[in-house]
Symmetry: C2
Subunit: 264 residues, 2 copies
Amino acid sequence: MHRHAIRNGVLIGQDEALVPVTDRAVQSSFSVYEALRVVDRHVVHLDDHITRMEYSASAIGLALPDADWQTWIDMLVAADDIVDATMRITVYGTAQPLAFITWQDLLTYPDEYYDTGIAVTTFHGERFLPTCKTGNLLLSYLALEDAHSKGAFESLLVDREGRVLEGSRSNFYLIRGNVMYTAADDLVLGGVTRKSVLRAARQLGLETVMQAVGEDELLAGDTMFISSTSMAAMPVTKVDGHDVSCDIGLVASICALVRKWEIE
Amino acid sequence: MHRHAIRNGVLIGQDEALVPVTDRAVQSSFSVYEALRVVDRHVVHLDDHITRMEYSASAIGLALPDADWQTWIDMLVAADDIVDATMRITVYGTAQPLAFITWQDLLTYPDEYYDTGIAVTTFHGERFLPTCKTGNLLLSYLALEDAHSKGAFESLLVDREGRVLEGSRSNFYLIRGNVMYTAADDLVLGGVTRKSVLRAARQLGLETVMQAVGEDELLAGDTMFISSTSMAAMPVTKVDGHDVSCDIGLVASICALVRKWEIE
């Protein structure tokens, strides 16, 4: 099938979703984006994603186009008869902002990732403007490549104070006793799924503390997991090659609530 | 005139120098680049630029295409009958690396910038992988926008220890007495023009010290200036709105040597 995309409200072929390498915004990562989950023709938490994109754009001074995102998305869903998909909005801050909506098959992961947990590694580095979702992603790219090269699924970013803030494409949580820790809002991306994870944790009787744990505390946690739009909540059972304890059932309960609230 | 460009050794129209927004390397700033100065059909210090690009690519694990840069540049110079220009090599680390050579009119600046000096502002922020020239440029972009919004020409990046490291698109120097200070090699981009500036300074009898000055020392310098491929050496006479002393003649002497060595 020849897939389509949207460029500033106009339906185009996805192979026409291109940007000029001569443009300063393209050259300078002056862009914002959102990755969306489409389930049964419906974008999950679209309002939250748009709110976050507007925040990211505002923070870097990028003027978004005058867009009706829901209408544009509906055009694309109709044109390609999309049922389930991972969709991406990308806006480049060119002289006339260029907004693209593109899509790919729904990102899913093997059941075993949820049933037995995934391996993560740690990577020292700090994201620039950590609360914003921009195209300035080289650190995240390299951190994930590093994890993959070591057979791990995700990389946890550690700042220069030794705090474990977030994954390269996920948020991070550590549970010890009855308390779930995750980094303060001003240090990490305000994950759309993170909101649901915090709600689910509280509903399951956990106390939530918005405070990053130290790298040296990773091996002393009872349970660690990561979250993202595509992953929901995924248990972590290995850190830098060390097996770590994990209450897989607890993470599965959080994951189930996150997924349930997506379609309510 | 319809300008051309080179894509992986093939002559194309410059309006075809495009990259797909769906590609992970494009989305993640996984790219390296060089800005070249073409004078009288000849690229200035091409070997230095290629060496630096190879270093940048190697540092982030980006495999460059098997390229004959001089031949590719010559193709473009011949096709568009280029005499003087600012040329750009950009390589995206896509599955098959995509190397572009594009060009624009030679970047030049008004004489008064050299005769009476330019204004700079300071901006707090640290470049990721500062020795590498990559597409991860959002900090530099925002710093320069900040300078422009304040009527200044360039922004000086200050790290969290208060050290003035470099400009958003230039290297930075402060002369006090007989000593010229510039940041250590591992903290900044190894400017191609910086090599010439250091050589010129020594030839003019200055001692060179590879050590960044503190933000609080900016107003106590005798002379400050910035350098880049397009600027050569440009005197600074205003910092964050404060007039500062500057030996314009000395900077002009350095600038003249830098330009002279370009065409030797």
